[in-house]
């Protein structure tokens, strides 16, 4: 990440590159990662809807997984998955 000096801060902190939040990897915050057990998953999509980072995607078979560049390990998916298909596992 470029660390600007105060003289280089854009007036009003305006951001002129739309979508550049993508460059910031919230995955670096993660202490625990979600692990899916597809034998329990009923493909309801609740995890996908609740993920605050919108980083959960679907594989070719319709099962869900997180993009670990952005998954910050908040555990909301695991909390909301009512069939209990997601477990939060400590990062090693």
């Amino acid at each position: 990440m470029v660390k600007e000096k105060w003289q280089e801060v854009s007036p009003g902190c305006m951001v002129f590159t739309p979508g550049n939040a993508r460059e910031y990897h919230t995955g670096s915050w993660r202490a625990e990662r979600p692990i899916w057990d597809n034998t329990k998953c009923i493909k309801c999509g609740i995890c996908y809807i609740f993920c605050p980072e919108a980083c959960i995607g679907q594989d070719a078979d319709g099962y869900f997984m997180a993009d670990l560049d952005y998954c910050k390990g908040c555990g909301i998916c695991a909390q909301e998955c009512w069939p209990g298909a997601i477990e939060m596992v400590e990062e090693g």
Binding site: M1, E4, W6, V9, P11, G12, C13, M14, V15
Partner: protein, 391 residues
């Protein structure tokens, strides 16, 4: 030739805004600002200007809606007072951080409780650290002039900050005064269209008011502080331009018979004119006393104030607000801290007065000046005094 008319100052403030080619106003009425709100909405409703008047449901909404409007490049105005200003408080630092040149008239009024609709400065003082250019008007003419000047200052490419014009509630807003209005043509010449640095537009998406991590926040704060400190240069330029075009001069600190005076009264706002009469009477009696009036509160005119009081032995700083449990009143603290490093610093007494609409008469200013003369001999026994409080 400019027209001179007798007009209530609140109405005149709205008329001044009417000359400024604004795009959007969002004003929620509150005593003693209501006449500004009502009259400006009349000006828009009568089709005298081509602007949008948003009838918001609160002050939080008025400043919020202007935040959006200003971000699209619109010239915007609001006005409020007391509780309304307190309700806006959350947004004020955001507006300045986003560098949006919103102009606001503040009809200064005491903050509850107990409920009081009358004048003091307890509404603006809690906004001190919000990053707004803050100035005080002394009379109706200054309200009109400073309202027009404020748009030009706030929108300047080297400023891009919101600005407030403080107008003592009732004691100034409701006075009928002779006021000289510039013509529309003259104002157009002085105040060209706003040229925004950037605007919110779907064709060219940008982000305003984003988020900053701890590794960036301090740099953003430093940049904002430098911006408001540097705005003084532009304020001075705009005031010079105003003087050239309209013949009325404006300075961050004004003085009245202050040269070589041992004791200087320091005021801010409309009470300066009352204090002038006190100075006249005291000088007639041979008392060495003068008056210094702070017009620009933020950015604080450090050099100008130092220059204005050079050689004085005592400053009698008046405050119209209380910093409960603090070292002094807000203006008192500011002035004291300014002189701490000076070798030949004056003694500084601090009088908190005129709270919640309490009259401050010529006689009161004379008494305060006399107390300050006394302090010169006896030294200072307390950091501040509630002047004229019974008990």
């Amino acid at each position: 030739m400019a027209k001179r008319v007798g007009m209530e100052v609140g109405i005149a403030a709205a008329e001044a805004v009417g000359l400024c080619n604004i795009d959007v106003a969002a004003v929620y009425p509150i005593t003693p600002q209501s006449h500004i709100a009502e009259h400006l909405s009349n000006i828009v409703a009568d089709g005298r200007i081509n602007a949008e008047f948003i009838t918001v449901e609160s002050e939080h909404s008025s400043i919020s809606s202007l935040c959006g409007a200003s971000a699209t490049g619109a010239r915007t105005y609001t006005a409020t007072s007391s509780q309304g200003l307190m309700f806006m408080h959350e947004l004020l630092p955001i507006v300045s951080a986003m560098r949006l040149p919103i102009v606001m008239g503040i009809a200064n009024r005491a903050v509850s409780g107990p409920l009081s609709i009358w004048n003091d400065h307890s509404d603006i003082m809690p906004q001190r650290d919000s990053g707004w250019i803050t100035m005080f008007a002394e009379n109706g003419q200054e309200v009109v002039d400073m309202t027009i000047q404020s748009f030009k200052i706030a929108e300047h490419k080297d400023v891009m900050l919101p600005a407030s014009v403080n107008i003592d509630g009732f004691q100034l807003t409701h006075m009928v005064e002779p006021i000289e209005f510039p013509t529309q043509k003259e104002v157009n010449k002085f105040l060209p269209d706003r040229k925004p640095f950037a605007t919110l537009h779907p064709d060219k998406p940008i982000t305003m008011g984003a988020f900053a991590m701890p590794d960036r926040f301090a740099e953003v704060m430093k940049a904002k502080d430098v911006a408001i400190v540097n705005s003084k240069k532009i304020i001075l330029e705009v005031w010079k331009e105003w003087e050239k075009q309209f013949g009325r001069s404006y300075n961050p600190v004004e003085t009245y018979k202050a040269k070589d005076a041992d004791v200087l009264l320091v005021t801010m706002g409309s009470m300066g004119e009352t204090a002038e009469i006190a100075i006249d009477e005291l000088q007639k009696k041979g008392v060495s006393v003068g008056l210094v009036k702070i017009r620009l509160w933020r950015p604080f005119p450090t050099e100008e104030l130092k220059a204005a009081v050079k050689g004085a032995k005592v400053l009698a700083v008046t405050d119209r607000a209380v910093s409960f449990g603090g070292v002094s009143g807000p203006v008192g603290m500011e002035v004291k801290s300014l002189f701490y490093h000076e070798k030949d610093r004056p003694l500084i007494t601090n009088y908190i007065m005129g709270l919640g609409g309490r009259d401050v008469t010529v006689e009161d200013f004379i008494k305060m000046a006399e107390k300050a003369v006394e302090a010169e001999k006896k030294g200072i026994t307390e950091e501040y005094e509630f002047y004229g409080v019974r008990g």
